[in-house]
Subunit: 290 residues, 2 copies
């Protein structure tokens, strides 16, 4: 199949590579050019040319304004979009903006699927990403074989935008679960217990979670190399809180977590792993658990 | 062995029953008398008589003031405590008070183990409680065979008080994980997605937890019968926040969760299951997910 791929960053490059390895013909664009590993893909001049030459266009860029620009700026996807084409946005962006983008794409007779991922750079390289998809049944079924080349746990959540909504729900839970483990371990340590032993005692019970397992271990071992950078989680919580404001939803703990991530950023931690949120709680108590 | 058991409530009665069934001689006391199921245990007049007649004294009462009264009031444990005796407090109370109680008990030449439990009434009946224990190695080894008659997942966390510290850490994490799932599902629902599908999409990924599995399901199905009552979780968070104040620890999300539980209580929800914390988030957004 002729596939367009726009956005060749840390995530996009290995994801596009899997499509290429599966025998698809790739037409790619990124402002920074084409990485060496994708030398057998055709480099296009802009997103419009990608859309002119491919049947399906996949987008993997950082945030809502970047997707908007790829779609609607001069020489963007929209200029060349034809009826029957399929646009798949795998970026993690606003679900509200996504519903608008999908509406405009469908007005041209094309289809739109949002398929944000979780699993990070490792998941992108190993083709083991979790993909949360939104769109019509027919559009999702067209996208599914491509998703299966890039990920493993693929869920059709609902209509266009619902994939982005699920991704935000995921990021809210992960952030607040990190906060939960951070407050618990700071409490345990300052009360005189060994935080590693407390963590062990809690695994397997009602407090158990992937975050207690993975991020709790990082907190105890003080290994805050990403992983997933705080500045990226801040971007996701910003989409959560902006959407919440537009939708009239009160999310008090999510808002607080965002402020604690900002506290980390204020201390030079934008690129720390998000488990380093515990450092903000440690600052509040003038106490380090490690 | 001659075992004393003080506190024959919903938890204490089945726990004492397991000791009786294992062939131990039981000396019991509770202000409300002796339940029918423990008719072969010897009912004592007060905690002092229990301590006079038993080698090991187990306490299972609601909160810190009750343990203090059992130990130190007139006709309490302390009046009769002899060198070599073992006091095991399985109530969920303050770790700071516990360290003081243990100190005073050891000054009399006796030993002290704190062994708060998680697993609730079902765990107590099935002898499948998780037990987080604090105390010296020798005291813990004396208590272990009795713990094994009442629970399954038994961890020696550290010194006296550390069992209570681990229990509080557990309750902090469970409360904040409930908050996490509540904010995520209210967001998902109000953004137009199906919260049941979003929950399914997130299971197995980094957002996965026992709370997403068990309490998330209750939120989606609107089944808020306890389970674990909000007023009990409030008691545990009160111990967390009082201890945190004494220890000079800032726990912002734990404090917020306590306020949201109070919001549920204000709406008649003291006896709702703690997963009904989502109702406070729903109130904030004037939106019900079910």
């Amino acid at each position: 199949m002729k596939i367009g791929f726009i956005g060749l960053g840390i995530m996009g490059t290995p994801m596009a590579g899997h499509l290429l390895n599966a025998g698809h013909e790739l037409f790619v664009f990124d402002r920074a050019g084409r990485p060496e590993s994708l030398s057998s893909a055709t480099l296009c001049a802009n997103s419009r040319e990608v859309t002119e030459r491919a049947d399906v266009v996949i987008i993997m860029v950082p945030d809502t304004p970047h997707v908007r620009a790829v779609l609607f700026d001069e020489n963007g996807v929209f200029d060349a979009l034809k009826p029957g084409q399929l646009v798949i946005d795998m970026s993690s962006i606003s679900p509200i903006a996504t519903k608008d983008f999908a509406h405009r794409v469908r007005e041209k007779g094309a289809e739109y699927v949002d398929g944000p991922v979780s699993g990070g750079e490792v998941g992108a390289k190993q083709a083991s990403l979790s993909i949360m998809a939104g769109g019509s049944e027919s559009a999702f079924e067209r996208a599914r074989p491509l998703f299966e080349l890039m990920g493993k746990n693929i869920t059709h959540v609902g209509e266009a935008g619902d994939g982005q909504t699920a991704k935000i729900a995921n990021q809210i839970i992960v952030a607040l679960n990190i906060e939960a483990v951070a407050e618990a371990l700071v409490f345990a340590s300052k009360a005189g217990a060994d935080p590693a032993k407390v963590r062990n005692a809690l695994m397997g019970g009602f407090a158990s979670s992937r975050v207690l397992e993975v991020h709790g271990d990082r907190m105890v071992k003080r290994t805050f190399d990403p992983g997933f950078r705080i500045e990226l989680h801040q971007k996701d919580l910003n989409n959560a809180l902006e959407s919440a404001r537009a939708l009239k939803i009160g999310l008090p703990a999510t808002a607080m977590c965002q402020q604690l991530f900002s506290t980390c950023a204020a201390n030079g931690g934008s690129a720390w792993d998000h488990s380093a949120l515990i450092r903000a709680i440690e600052l509040l108590s003038a106490h380090e658990i490690g």
